[in-house]
Symmetry: C2
Subunit: 418 residues, 2 copies
Amino acid sequence: MREKADSDLVRRQNRRLVLDALRQQGPLARVELGRHTGLSPASITSISSQLIADGILEEAGGEQAPVVPMRRGRPLTQLDLNPQSAHVLAVKISIDGIELALADGRGAIFQRLTAKIATYEAQPQSFGAMVAGEIAAFLAHAQIPPGRIARIGIAVQGVADSRAGTIVWSPAFRHRNIALQEPLRRALGIPCTVANDANMIAEGLIGLDRTRYGGTAAMAFIGYGVGMGLVINGQVYHGPTGAAAEFGHMNHQPGGALCRCGRRGCIEAYAADYGIMRRAKQNPDDILMTHSAVPQEDLLELEAAARRGEARALEAYAKAGEALGYGFARLIALLSPSHIVLVGPGTRAMEFIEPHLRAAIEAGVVDELRRNLEIDIVPIDTDMIIKGTIDGALRHLDREVFAHGPAAKRQLVMEESA
Amino acid sequence: MREKADSDLVRRQNRRLVLDALRQQGPLARVELGRHTGLSPASITSISSQLIADGILEEAGGEQAPVVPMRRGRPLTQLDLNPQSAHVLAVKISIDGIELALADGRGAIFQRLTAKIATYEAQPQSFGAMVAGEIAAFLAHAQIPPGRIARIGIAVQGVADSRAGTIVWSPAFRHRNIALQEPLRRALGIPCTVANDANMIAEGLIGLDRTRYGGTAAMAFIGYGVGMGLVINGQVYHGPTGAAAEFGHMNHQPGGALCRCGRRGCIEAYAADYGIMRRAKQNPDDILMTHSAVPQEDLLELEAAARRGEARALEAYAKAGEALGYGFARLIALLSPSHIVLVGPGTRAMEFIEPHLRAAIEAGVVDELRRNLEIDIVPIDTDMIIKGTIDGALRHLDREVFAHGPAAKRQLVMEESA
DNA sequence: TGTTTTATTTCGGCGTCCAAAAAAATGTTG
DNA sequence: CAACATTTTTTTGGACGCCGAAATAAAACA
């Protein structure tokens, strides 16, 4: 509510409504678009024909299975996003690894690559250029000119400043404040977004089910770390500085267990892989194990131990549940979200964690505030970060580019009349 | 971004921009309105003349001191809100007391009343009618017909459901779920908002300084209880159920001190008047003193004791600071607001609380997240709740009524042409 | 009194929406 | 198989609100 309204805003908003409906629902006929957006058939005709002319939409080829084939009247002509409208690139950076995925305008991934890249010892001055190099090589190999890529989304563990386009702090890096947006823009000429990986999961979940998660929800990722994406009024919340929802580093216990971030008592220090493992092995609270990830075998063995009923394993999971539960209780007191979603490999052991988690929520927050709360545990999909990054990049494109329409339009009109 | 855009939306949005600018800046000339809103002079003329015709604005009488008197050119004609456009009523309900204030369309209070009213033993079925009775009597005495009141705002301690228009739980009531909106609408025919008192303080602070608090900020009230108003992207956050930002009942310490809400370890149980007093007197943590407010003399005496350096008083304030500080640390991890504002009588003892509060924030949250954080301690103004309630009601009117324009317009146009 | 300056209003054009009517494309039926 | 029914889509004409430019208004200055 800061922007002045004029016919430009009207066009932008309504074009975006049409694009949103198609992203959400898949191919739709014009009448259906009218129902979804509230616009009249006349307006839909006008908007969609412009979007088609702009190369953003296309009429679906007749091979589309007619859903309701036996009906009188003129058949529906489905409209869909034009996959050629633009390509987007999702980049996921983890400890000493980088994952690239190239998607078309509909979000379908058609090329991907996983590569080693030295992150932990990387220098802030040069890392951006290194990533740009990886991307350039990947695009060259895929035979896609960089100009076809409309946007790059980068997901990274830790604190990202999405405004400045930098990695503020990440467990994957020894150094701080690593710029990415600016080096990539310089090297490749492509705009880019840097975001926390959990925020991208939230972005993906919104794409999956907007009616469920489109209100106010908290998505917690539990695994090698504890992250969160916060959805407030249907938007992933980024906060004034572009860094927020650091649930993993929300304090649970003053002066408590040592966390990777250097503070004491963070939720992550109890509920991330390394925190659980540390406790299960009865290692002291104030010692951090190596910076590399906890081996998968060890985690599976711990789950097996818990299944056998071994007290130490159960106790470690209980403590994780308690830390998570009190964290959620505190979050609920502040925001009272309608959904809390748990995702990530850590949910494998949920049977041992959940009772303590729920008990802590009950002990920690007034009944009234959690009356309409649902807790969802979503099956693990390691690709969710990549998918969410692509979704987010495409929605950004819709909003900031496609909704505006081509800047050249006025000139074309003038040429015609001349 | 759910609403379809048409000329109706354009009118609404731009009328609202004009109203917002006037509420924020006071009287403005048309050119200045143009600068504030981004609209062209032609549009401002058109919009303002309609708003004047609707009785919402008026041209300021010449008695207005010309700010820049010696200037060439046609002098500015100031426009201002018409105080007669509507009246709003603010109601503040506290333990066994009710406060009423009647304000004009500019927010100036011109009539007020403080009365006793039995809240604690009030029945959920009848309390709404009782309040309606008080209001009717007040209006009769003020010789204002109820039809002149466009909106009632009710501020109450505790958890309010602003969607349902009820008091969900409040320390001022023994019973729960007390309906207000519906009884008032039935008895008086006036729409009404029920909100938490701290949210209304936030509303008032936004009105005071929108550039400072119009982004993302947390306003904490410290006094007989601990409340919070959360401003997210310039809007007071109400949450999906209409109840949120229950900072006072955010857990600080699992299994800790008993709180008025019945849970253990809430921040309020350490930082509200009764919590501080309990600790200073070394009463056990799990005993609640009477439900009446802590006497003012006792609080002043405790402050004096702290000033004399008495250990028990200092320790109680230290504990309060720690509870508040860790609460803020947790809040910052989630939302990283740009401002935290402390208001209320509890800030009188801030010199004893603040060092511990700041130490807890430092211990509890990564440096990066609090880099752009400012903590403001705002001088106590007991009237802030009333003022904020009025501000909120007027902004609601602007948005939902004045921005739309009269429904009769179409008919008028048709009559003219006939 | 005429000139300069600044504020406001008027006028004509533009872009987008919508309702209603027309056109298109197909199924149904005698 | 031609006329009718039904549904989708496009076309047409009118409304609304914005804007730029020109006109008008109201003062100070000279």
